[in-house]
Symmetry: C2
Subunit: 359 residues, 2 copies
């Protein structure tokens, strides 16, 4: 058992340390061990008390359990971790993977949609996944009912990745146990949560960012307005990935979400050729947030916490704007945000925005 | 019977004088009478012989017949002629109208689609036309079977214009006689061709440009790839108007044309609100070609025909480019093109391009 993995798990499983904070701590202090040492002092400088660190014993227990389940940890910034996923600002620092890890090296598209999709849409999704697989694309989905299941089934021969909201050993929905087991053996299953975690509503958006983040583009097949599939599409767009949607008749209420996505700029998809045309030229367009952060320059600025605190309010503001208004070196502002965060005084929002948490 | 109308009809019905040439002749010589006088000489200067002018007696016979049929002539550049239609470079110089001319003053959208459309699509088109009518939009279509008929029916109460490919007294398809008669009484029917003209295949694209030209935007409902409806959509786009399409499932072959249009940039339409959002801000964006032509400046250039002839080849070239390369005043180049045209030595193409006709 690697000491570094234990330290990373302790840091990550500490309440109040999310993926963005974790990533910045590692970027700042180099190792999880050094970050763990620094957390109490940072939190004090941010004006709070130190969070209770996750215990070494609990971390070791989790690692043993994952090994016993046949799972592997993938660590952000290290070998097997998927390159595209690493580009997300809130990329999961650790993933638990079970299955064919080689699928992580291939270009992937995500396919998501309604759990209660029509039989025709499920058939379409299965056929599309099959065709995309024949073109060398791995199909990523969420192992849910409906479109997700059809997408996995269609791409089972060629390669498919299921990202689940709960622990790697939890089958949800229960009737998908056989499908998830098939993916353990012939595909790949990824989980961000520790083993034993039952999926809850709040877990699904986090799961969805992983689906979108793994793929060069996300295809939505039959989705209701305000559904989880549309959240995945939004996350894909925010990450600079292609958003694609399969249209339907305005007379079909199940087509409303996709039609609206297309109105909002998603690419209309009729078949695998349309998908290939959209995702083929996709290349990473941005330096990873870690790179951007590490390139941020000097951090010498005595009273950065005070300056940043004054600039922050209860409404989310872009970090870039805080840096510009502060007049302080970007590195110093990031450090101050990290300190406020660890002190439990900062909220992080989508799109890299931050706000001061109401007292 | 107005002498000017007789002269205009003689000029327009002369073989070899199309809408663009007609428009430039009127712009150049002020009246149809002066243009008629000038044609023989112009053709000679262009290196050909004069076209046989349409006879005064034939023109007078047509006018009498239109009056007897209850029709009215609308002349480009004069009072009742629809403003948006006048913006087309190849706007019809004369239209024969029968019905409520006041409909020409209202904002209009065009709705076109498959003659063999599904019952569901026809019902959708009728409902959409009805809703658009309630929002104060006149619905323009082509009095064909299928979507066209449904569009007229839905907007019959509120206001609808049917543009036909044949003469005003011809019912095509024959089963639409009652519908066309209803439009004579409660809507408006427009025809570019003289009375008695049976519509032929080549007339339909000309008819389609009028449909697209009358409207701020064109909605396509269920259209096969490479169908006439897609030609209307292309003409609308070329005229700088909105192109809108109603999507359908990729499993429905009748949705292919519309889905492709949306992939190519047409706005996806689900209901009347979507249409209003698209067409509301539409304003004429260009000066009319007549204005542009009349502003083209001096025409003094002795050997413009020779210069222009050398610059022209069998491949269509933009007039702007010919003007730039010639070094001659724009007016002189336009005049030379007119002369070559009347001499039967010029072909005019879409997008204002011209080429020398192969000998």
């Amino acid at each position: 058992m690697s000491d570094d993995l234990v330290d990373r798990l302790r840091l990550l499983r500490t309440a109040g340390i999310g993926p963005v904070t974790y990533r910045q701590l590692i970027a700042r202090f180099g190792t999880a061990a050094a970050a763990l040492d620094a957390v109490p002092d940072l939190a004090r400088r941010g004006g709070g008390k130190s969070p209770a660190l996750h215990s070494r014993a609990d971390a070791e227990r989790e690692i043993t359990r994952v090994e016993k389940l046949g799972g592997k940890y993938l660590m952000l910034g290290q070998g097997l971790y998927p390159r595209l996923l690493a580009e997300l600002e809130d990329a999961p620092p650790l993933l638990i993977a079970k299955g064919k890890l080689s699928l992580l090296d291939q270009p992937a598209v995500a396919m998501v949609g309604a759990r209660n999709a029509s039989a025709a849409a499920c058939r379409f999704a299965r056929g599309l996944a099959h065709d995309l697989g024949r073109q060398g694309l791995v199909v990523v989905s969420g192992l849910a009912r409906g479109i997700d299941s059809a997408a996995h089934d269609g791409a089972l021969e060629s390669g498919t990745i299921g990202v689940i909201a709960g622990g790697i050993d939890i089958f949800y929905p229960p009737e998908n146990e056989a499908r998830q087991t098939a993916l353990f053996e012939r595909g790949l299953v990824l989980a961000e949560m520790p083993p034993g975690t039952e999926p809850r509503a709040r877990h699904f958006p986090y799961r969805n960012r992983i689906i979108a983040g793994l793929a060069t583009g996300t295809i939505v097949v039959e989705a209701a307005p305000r559904s989880g599939s549309l959240i995945t599409a939004r996350l894909a767009a925010e990450a600079g990935r292609e958003v694609m949607a399969v249209p339907g008749s305005p007379l079909d209420p199940r087509a409303q979400g996709c039609n609206q996505l297309i109105r909002d700029g998603a690419t209309l998809i009729q078949d695998a050729d349309d998908v290939l045309e959209s995702v083929a030229p996709a290349q990473p367009r941005f330096a990873s947030p870690v790179d951007r952060y590490e390139a941020a320059g000097p951090t010498d600025c005595e009273d950065a916490v005070g300056i940043v605190e004054e600039l922050l309010g209860p409404s989310p503001a872009p970090v870039d704007e805080i840096i510009r208004l502060s007049g302080a070196p970007p590195g110093a502002v990031q450090m101050a945000l990290l300190e406020l965060d660890l002190a439990g005084r900062l909220d992080r929002h989508a799109g890299g925005k931050v706000s001061l948490r109401p007292a």
